[in-house]
Symmetry: C2
Subunit: 386 residues, 2 copies
């Protein structure tokens, strides 16, 4: 396989973009990334885009062609990839394989979702299509309910508390407050979380990631060409993806994501690294309990110790392993198809030393972890600067 690097990265601010449509968001993020890469558009050979639910959210499928058109990329091939909330990372993975295979050289990878034009109940139903429609959503199990079950199980097995979960949100808001692209740039306290409205016991509003509009984009090139475009190429050292049962009731465990564990083993093997080599990570904190499970399943903390580690500040900037310096899904926002690509953008900025007030000191190796649905897909990438 040819080695692959990221040579450009960009994103829109995440938030409620009443004034911008789906197409505007894509173009804005794409132009930022292409400008950042310092290439002209006619150098681009192909594109991949992650979008979860454009069909139901905006009545539009065939997103690859739409983006080729609105980005002025015709006639190059642009392909949509969907894996629920992991769609962005899956697009990155297809882009990686397209370059690694030699089929293409310069590839743009985007992620986008426009979610705030519909009511919350409708969006919640649409997002429920990431789980098992027939055995979960049809019976009323939307995502907060499914993650609430996991939270309860984690509390029962390991003594994880609501305060520990709340500490994840507090930390991610603290990070988000230092990210001008974040949907929420305000700090909160444990009390803010604990006293917020119950969504699905024990998860409260501030345990949940928001509904968000946004787009993110990176530009890939073969590593051996990357230095001709940028002084700071970021190598994608390893990529892994794994699947698990789509419905929670079929899984081996309700307090751990097997897909994360399987993908983690693969990605560490591929990179010839261990969790100790990773200096920062963006993980999939769609709910606070999801971040706690992720930092355990990725091997940063022993199983059951993710909650205490979060409460003790070990995952904050300056801690053992900074987690979600962007603010994560909780504070930076979660436009589902864009999230995986936004994680890659944050990794690029950290590894270039461009993360401003939230910079991880001497960052050399980072990881992103993106989950689809309630854990039926997990996608992990490891990056390093050169």
């Amino acid at each position: 396989m040819r080695k692959v690097a990221i040579i450009g990265a960009g994103m829109t601010p995440f938030g409620e973009h009443w004034e911008q449509g789906f197409r505007d968001l894509v173009v804005e993020a794409g132009l930022h990334a292409i400008e950042d890469a310092g290439i002209s558009g006619d150098r681009i050979d192909a594109g991949f885009v992650g979008t979860m639910a454009s069909g139901r959210l905006i009545g539009q499928e065939h997103i690859g062609a739409l983006i080729a058109d609105y980005m002025g990329l015709n006639p190059i091939p642009v392909t949509r990839v969907e894996g629920a909330c992991a769609s962005g990372s899956l697009a990155l993975r297809q882009g990686l394989m397209a370059v690694a295979s030699g089929m293409h050289d310069i590839v743009v990878v985007g992620g986008v979702e426009k979610m705030t034009d519909l009511g919350i109940n409708t969006v919640s139903d649409i997002l429920g299509g990431a789980g098992d429609q027939e055995w979960e959503l049809f019976l009323g199990a939307t995502f907060p309910a499914i993650y609430a079950l996991m939270a309860r199980r984690h509390m029962q097995e390991f003594g994880t508390t609501e305060e520990m979960m709340a500490s994840v949100a507090v930390k991610n808001h603290k990070h988000g407050a230092k990210n001008k692209y974040a949907q929420f740039q305000n700090e909160i306290t444990i009390d803010t979380v604990l006293k917020s409205k119950m969504v699905a016991d024990p998860l409260k509003v501030f345990d949940c990631s928001p509904i968000t509009d946004g787009a993110a984009c990176v530009v890939l090139a073969p590593l051996d060409m990357a230095h001709s475009f940028t002084k700071k190429p970021i190598e994608i050292v390893a990529s892994a993806q794994a699947s698990d049962h789509i419905a929670l009731h079929s899984r081996e465990s309700m307090s751990s994501l097997k897909a994360t564990k399987v993908a983690a083993k693969k990605v560490y093997d591929m990179a010839r690294m261990t969790p100790k080599d990773i200096q920062f990570t963006e993980v999939h904190d769609c709910f606070t309990i999801a971040e706690i499970m992720a930092i355990e399943d990725l091997g940063f903390f022993p199983k059951g110790k993710g909650g205490p580690a979060s409460l003790e500040g070990r995952t904050a900037l300056g801690g053992d392993i900074p987690v979600n310096t962007s603010g994560g899904l909780k504070a930076c926002g979660h436009p589902v198809g864009a999230t995986g690509v936004k994680q890659a953008v944050e990794a690029v900025w950290q590894l270039r030393g461009q993360a401003e007030g939230r910079q991880v000191k001497d960052a050399h190796i980072g990881m992103t972890h993106n989950v689809g649905g309630s854990g039926a897909t997990a996608v992990i990438h490891i990056y390093r600067n050169l």
Copy 2:
């Protein structure tokens, strides 16, 4: 790039499957292909699946994970790809790159759509999401209307007649009658078409492909491993994809698909072949006019001569170049996400000499051509036996 071959192929019958759900169709096609490849499931490294509109048709996204689950493939990665009616061929293309890159060895590629559970108007609206939702569908331009505009333009420019278009449907029904997997296995006459109900002038019911349920699957392997699985591996010699404006009104031409022409040039270059080397082809005949444009844009007939060639029987079995021996989208049926993979299955059967009553004599090289929307995506593959 590593060379890639198809080592197994299978499909469900195409039609109205009231007794089978989306998941059942996937499993049936997948098992046929895996059994045909003679491998055990634990040899499979990854999967890709093409589905256009499962979110709106059955309320389910995250199709990759769903299929990994229901096919018993966990924890291997399975990824959904979407490019409207070209979703199946795009899945094949991702599978090809996954093997070519060395990321995976044995890869299953599926395509599936379950369309007949909703009313025709709803399905027509959902399919309209393959065009420009804002500038076409919102204003009432569903697909028959868009292709009717192309048909009128083709008639005006080249003198193509309704009888010539009808002859495409007659020929595809004749082929479909020899395919036990086809939705329509009955022969029709020119009169059947001309006297059928008008849908969008000049396109009548029998100029249009039907609404269909179905699934198809192929199994890929590196060419150098393929002979250990099968005596008759089918090499994928070349793959190309191109984009054009998503809305018809932005295109250079209304009587030709530029994406097809661009992809055709690329695929011939990659295969080092010309149209003369191709012995049979499955093309995207969502409407009869689409087949006429395709056989011109692919270089089999000069521009404007596709209609007369069809009427003269030059695209029928035994003619200059047999087109749509499966029956095409018109008679075999068009479960949109499955169509591109079904085309590959037909190519495999032809190249193995397993096409029964519709066998192309001494078939050695074949092509498939799959279109997304009204032509904003075109995907072409060339295959040969060894």
